[in-house]
Amino acid sequence: MTARDNRVQTILWADLSNGSTRLEMLPEEWTRKYLGCRGINARLLFDEVKAGTDPLGPDNVLFFGTGPMDGLPVGMGRMSIACKSPRGTVAEGSFGGFFGPELRRAGIDYLAIRGQADHPVYLYIEDGRIEVRDASHLWGLKTNETDAALRKELSDPDVQLRYIGPAAENLVHASPIFGNLNNSGGRAGCGEVMASKRLKAIAVRGSRGIRVADYDAFLEAYKVLRQRLDLATSRDMWTPVWSTYGAPVLARLFTDIGNLMTCNAREMRWDFDKATRISAENYLDNYVTKAKACWCCPWPACQKLHEIKSGKYQGFKGGNYWAAQPVTFGSLIDNDDLDWLLVISGLCNQYGLDVFHVGYTLAWAMECFENGLLTMADTDGLELRFGCQDKDGLIDLVRKIAMREGFGDLLALGCAEASKIVGRGSERFCLCVKGQELEGIAERNLYMVALGVAVSEVGPDHTRWYPPYPCNPSLISKEELAELGIDLDLRLAFQGRNPEQKGKLLRWFTISRAIVESMPSCVFLVRDTLGLDMRPWWNLFKAATGVELDYPEFVMAGERLLNLDRAFNVREGYRRADDHPPIRMATEDVPYFGYRKLDAEDFEPMLDEYYEANGWTVATSIPTRKKLEELGLGDVADEFDALGIEVE
């Protein structure tokens, strides 16, 4: 079969209401304008899902996007999933693994799913051929059971799968889409939308090769990328640590500097011995069995498999321990039992739940319970206190959330909706932005994080402006920054609690990470100077696609994506007033170190600076016509006009 190139991208439209499918070419111009993956998903989403569409109805479209770099050794298997969130915003998330390259090898770059099937189905795709198959026998199975059942049914060890668990089927808040057992993506509601289409799984197998336009240039560009990311040559002190231990290595450091959300963030320091027990060091020494990786990642062990070797949960296996688990099922609910922590987060994966949703909602419920807003009568007799005394009760509660039984049905709504029902001041304990739970990163002493979480179009998602913790500003000189067109004083911008430069810094981080996710590649790899100097990425993109575009044009693709996401939210009625931190962060000081709350005096100027740097109207956060036209998005401004949205 002939090899494919990367200049023109294809889209497969599937309508589950009538079973029709159609394979189309996307305009060649789009590869230059939006690159691919997240960029093209943003364009498709803005075009296809109009204002006011019912998110769980047949007209919402679920896009699975690969991109020109997928299937090449820089794509890292990343894929972007996009749709309209059940909460009304853009829902976009991405995952790694091996699904993206396989889809490209099957001749398909984008998969767009609309309609609703009348019974559970799964899609089987093989080399451009698509079949809608019955999935009644899979509906209700956990993610690991679905994986095993489909692999047995298809009897092909290299088939790639994406599926949802029982939680998404029951439309539990924030349920993501899973794959390769322990990878998940799209926590802004993509799993719920997939379930609303009665689509349980997608299986894909491809056999085509992928050709780069200029192989020699590609190899040279790869060597530069590899040099900046390789453990032996990277100039970034985090590279070796991050790529083996991972984020939980920060637990002990953070508890010492008041940066670890503890007991629902009413405290920011935890007991050091407790932090030691849930640290990455303990995990790696006593639980890890094997390293795992996404497609062609240059890092050795960003993912890991683990097994509990003794005690009550002996034999429980799972994978991956990143920033989510030690915060959500550790410090946030004051639990230092790593055995139980791995069991409960493993069960979240099996039920198809989002760990941030479950962790933050449990912490909210615990604080409500301790303040008398919830009683044993509400919680089905569960003593819901920080410290997690009733561990079996909490494990059963996770099942009840996924199955929407009893008290679990309230928590399945997510923290924001649940606190509206409970009322009586419980909103203060709810750590949400735009209806979506936070992600474990402290806000009150990292102002860029506070701003990034508040303005994000999908709700809290730190991968949009990764990394949240400043890197070493001396890696790049002022002259180089100027040459790259970045108007920032890094030393000032990287000061955690200084509001100055945060708007401009966040803008740059957002658009540059948007480029990385549009190629696609993994945002964890913006180490060394790869998050400031995008030229290595640019060279890879040019060599792979053969598209000639200059550097400012390349960077502009990221800005285009950000404006399209913002425009989608504007069209749904989101404005500046929706970009704010959770009540607790805005009104309560951290009890030590003098870290103050994020009051309006500090926060509002950061917002002003961010909107202004983006060329948006400061009072409303709506992109201006001038900015949209400059980006070649005049049609977006026209649509605003037609809808009566005041565009400056």
């Binding site: 091996f98 057992l181 090769g209 453990l231 790696l284 890890v288 069995t289 240059p298």
Partner: protein, 131 residues
């Protein structure tokens, strides 16, 4: 004669070796053309590189002339050595695993920083290996 040796339990299944190898002849990334394949078993628990190559690479990525698959391997699961040196490497890994949990996921010769030896309070500088 130098050969490519596989340390199976260090393989993380990333397929970098397979993907790069497949492209070396004609610039097309296509697993079917690769001289090394990573076999996966359901359940994600095993990744098994199978080598069908004498190690004389058609296009080494770096100037040292070593095979591209070995050069791109992130964990050290692939080594290109004489037989006796390969045995020494394998034993070096086993010794390192006794010392630190880190070497469940990466080979000691791929780890750039010193590590704390058992019983020691402090990290000592990396020793030059005998290889």
């Amino acid at each position: 004669m130098k050969r490519i040796y596989v340390i199976e339990d260090l393989c993380n299944g990333c397929r970098l070796c397979e993907t790069f190898c497949s492209s070396l002849v004609n610039g097309v990334f296509d697993v079917k053309q690769s001289r090394i394949n990573v076999i996966k078993v359901p359940g994600e628990e095993k990744d098994i590189p199978m080598v069908d190559c004498n190690g004389r690479c058609v296009r080494p990525l770096y100037d040292d002339g070593g095979p591209t698959c070995v050069a791109v391997c992130p964990t050290g699961a692939l080594i290109y050595e004489e037989r006796d040196d390969a045995v020494a490497r394998r034993l070096e890994l086993e010794a390192a695993r006794e010392e630190h949990g880190l070497f469940k996921v990466i080979a000691p010769w791929k780890w750039p920083l010193p590590w704390r030896r058992p019983g020691a309070d402090k990290v000592t500088p990396v020793m030059e290996t005998d290889l």
